[in-house]
């Protein structure tokens, strides 16, 4: 996130430089440190949680006491020694599956969001630089897609193509890219009419150059915030689908399906099913806190 943000500042320079004498700019490292110091408690909490999740996801094989699909004990063993959170309905260690679940669930959601931003961002900028029939046809098509609730549309497509991880990523990414398209097109339209874009066009730069080197750096801040929100949304959608039994399929450890598999335990007052659900909830809350702070900061609102 921070890496992208600094690109945007450097990219924005040519547009601003030369108009007035600006005070010496802080390097991105300095301004980042300064922003971090002033971050509210909720943002700090969010960043700490996200960092913890990333560590768990990256070092999953080192942290997990057992393998992802190893049958280590009887079914539904209680919490404590030797299985910290007990075992699941097949006798797999729940803690290990939670840890591997971080890797699978977050990884798939991240890939989907990245793909959705690639598709939606590219098409959105394309629509902004090519007004006329390209813009019109893309926008009307997106309007129609957005008229169907996303989860419902995803269900329809899954019933046609069947549930596999690849299908899941592609379907959610394409559906989600409609929102990214809308936002990118809206902010890119404001940039596409500026003089330096016009100059680049007259200079005979290629379309991809104009999109990536002229427009993209100037629309990054809203896109970065949107990336956080879209990630939450994608993550929740995939978890919901997995919970419904239509998303990530067993034996892959994933929080949504783990909740589904262990959900009967709740009827006996056992809180185990809340662990994967809580893991999902905590991450989305954390990302939302950080995004909230970021939006507040970049929009310059003093609410």
């Amino acid at each position: 996130m921070t890496l992208l943000q600094d690109n945007s500042r450097e990219g924005a320079m040519p547009a601003v430089a030369g108009t007035t004498a600006l005070p010496p700019r802080r390097s991105w490292r300095e301004s980042l440190l300064r922003d971090m110091k002033h971050a509210p408690l909720s943002a700090w909490f969010g960043m700490a949680v996200i960092a913890a999740y990333v560590v768990v996801a990256v070092f999953a094989p080192l942290l997990a006491p057992y393998a992802e699909n190893e049958l280590v004990g009887a079914q539904y063993e209680p919490w404590g020694d030797p299985f910290f959170f007990g075992t699941d309905q097949l006798g797999r260690d729940l803690l290990s599956r939670l840890i591997y679940g971080a890797r699978n669930t977050i990884g798939i959601a991240l890939m989907t969001t990245a793909l959705s931003f690639t598709i939606g961002g590219m098409l959105g900028m394309l629509a902004a630089v090519l007004p006329g029939w390209v813009d019109q046809s893309l926008s009307r098509f997106v309007d129609v897609l957005m008229a169907i609730p996303q989860l419902i549309f995803a269900l329809v497509l899954l019933s046609i193509f069947g549930s596999s991880i690849i299908n899941l990523i592609l379907i959610i990414a394409v559906l989600d890219s409609t929102r990214v398209f809308r936002l990118t097109r809206a902010v890119a339209l404001n940039i596409a009419v500026l003089d330096f874009v016009e100059a680049a066009k007259l200079q005979g730069e290629k379309l991809t150059w104009i999109m990536i080197r002229e427009i993209l750096p100037n629309i990054l801040p809203p896109l970065v915030a949107e990336f956080g929100l879209r990630f939450c949304f994608v993550f929740l959608t995939i978890s919901a689908l997995s919970f419904l039994g239509l998303g990530i399929q067993p034996p892959t450890a994933d929080w949504g399906s783990m909740l589904r598999e262990n959900s009967t335990l709740i009827n006996y007052g056992d809180v185990t099913p809340l662990l994967p659900a809580g893991a999902i909830a905590l991450l989305t809350v954390a990302v939302n806190f950080v995004v909230d702070w970021f939006l507040h900061k970049t929009s310059g609102l003093k609410d």
Partner: protein
């Protein structure tokens, strides 16, 4: 023709066109079916003859345009076709129409959504207005924090926590006051249906109130910062009169939008909550149909969901135009 009527008719036309385009997309998905689909439905042992008969039964031997017209013509008359579930035996099994599956489920879902709306809408509006009026107060901060959290949390998390806290202490499940499983049917007396739907309704209310009240708060704050409110304040108009005479007439449009958007959101939220509480609604029917790849049922449910969604957005549009004539002249 009055300009308002003209704009409303325009919006209605636009809504119909959208609905038409959506129906084409939902129908077109069946064209993307992989070739071995009949085998997947009929089982690996199906002979080529059975497969051919199955495809003929679905009309796959006819051109897509003709099939679409047949399908949409049927839908307009309330006929969504025949469920795949009974088709396995082809001739042997009893055919089930999609309508006979969907209709009772739809009634249940409307009951659930209706109950939720009755509780959630007034609650959210009151909380949102209070938060806007006492902005940046302790109350506002707490509400802001709580709602941001409950927006970010998935529905099933809220649902299971409520279940754990409220229903599980009554270990004998089918006992009041809270039922963990909302197995309702229309033979039950009204009060019992309400009792049994209490937990799903509470879950949906919690999720939706958070959204709705945040949007209400933002809309009112936006309104209260406009120049004419400041003018009224400077004139010395009493706060109560500012709210009733100056703010509220202008607030209907954003509030209507907020309500409609959130009821539309309810359409999606209902799917997960129904599955958690085993509520016999259309959402659960759709999930079951997706996992058994019962395409006609999936299409019917999707069309109903999409139509509701479009209708609610349309209503929001129209209400805001009617209550705020300025929108007739977009800048």
């Amino acid at each position: 023709m009055s300009p308002i009527l003209k704009t409303v008719l325009q919006r209605l036309g636009l809504g119909l066109i959208t609905l038409f385009a959506v129906s084409i997309i939902i129908f077109a998905t069946i064209e993307m079916l992989p070739g071995d689909f009949a085998k997947a439905i009929l089982g690996q042992s199906a002979t080529p003859d059975t497969v051919a008969a199955f495809q003929k039964r679905l009309g796959l031997d006819r051109p897509p345009v003709e099939r679409y017209l047949n399908w949409i013509g049927g839908v307009a008359q309330g006929d969504f076709g025949v469920s795949f579930a009974g088709l396995g035996g082809l001739g042997g099994g009893q055919e089930t129409t999609v309508v006979s599956l969907v209709a009772p489920r739809l009634a249940n879902t409307l009951f659930l959504a209706g109950l939720t709306a009755i509780v959630a809408v007034p609650l959210a509006l009151i909380l949102g207005m209070l938060a806007a009026l006492y902005r940046n107060s302790f109350y506002d901060r707490i509400v802001n924090m709580v709602t941001l959290t409950s927006i970010s949390v998935p529905e099933f998390f809220v649902a299971y926590i409520l279940m754990l806290l409220l229903a599980v202490p009554h270990v004998v499940f089918d006992s009041p006051p809270f039922y963990a499983l909302a197995k309702i049917n229309f033979d039950m007396p009204f009060t019992e249906r309400v009792m049994r739907s209490a937990l799903p309704v509470m879950t949906l209310v919690l999720v939706i109130v958070a959204h709705m009240m945040r949007m209400t708060r933002a809309a009112i704050i936006n309104l209260l910062s406009s120049p004419f409110i400041e003018m009224a304040r400077l004139k010395g108009v009493s706060p109560r009169r500012i709210i009733y005479r100056h703010a509220l007439p202008n607030a209907w449009a954003p509030i209507a939008t907020v309500i409609a958007l959130n009821l539309a959101y309810l359409v999606v939220g209902v799917v997960v909550v129904e599955v958690v509480f085993v509520y016999p609604g259309i959402g659960q029917l759709m999930v079951d149909a997706v996992s058994s790849r019962n395409i006609p049922v999936v299409q019917a449910c999707a069309l109903i969901f999409a139509a509701t969604y479009i209708l609610l957005n349309l209503i929001a549009d129209i209400v805001s135009i009617v209550t705020n004539p300025r929108l007739l002249h977009p800048r």
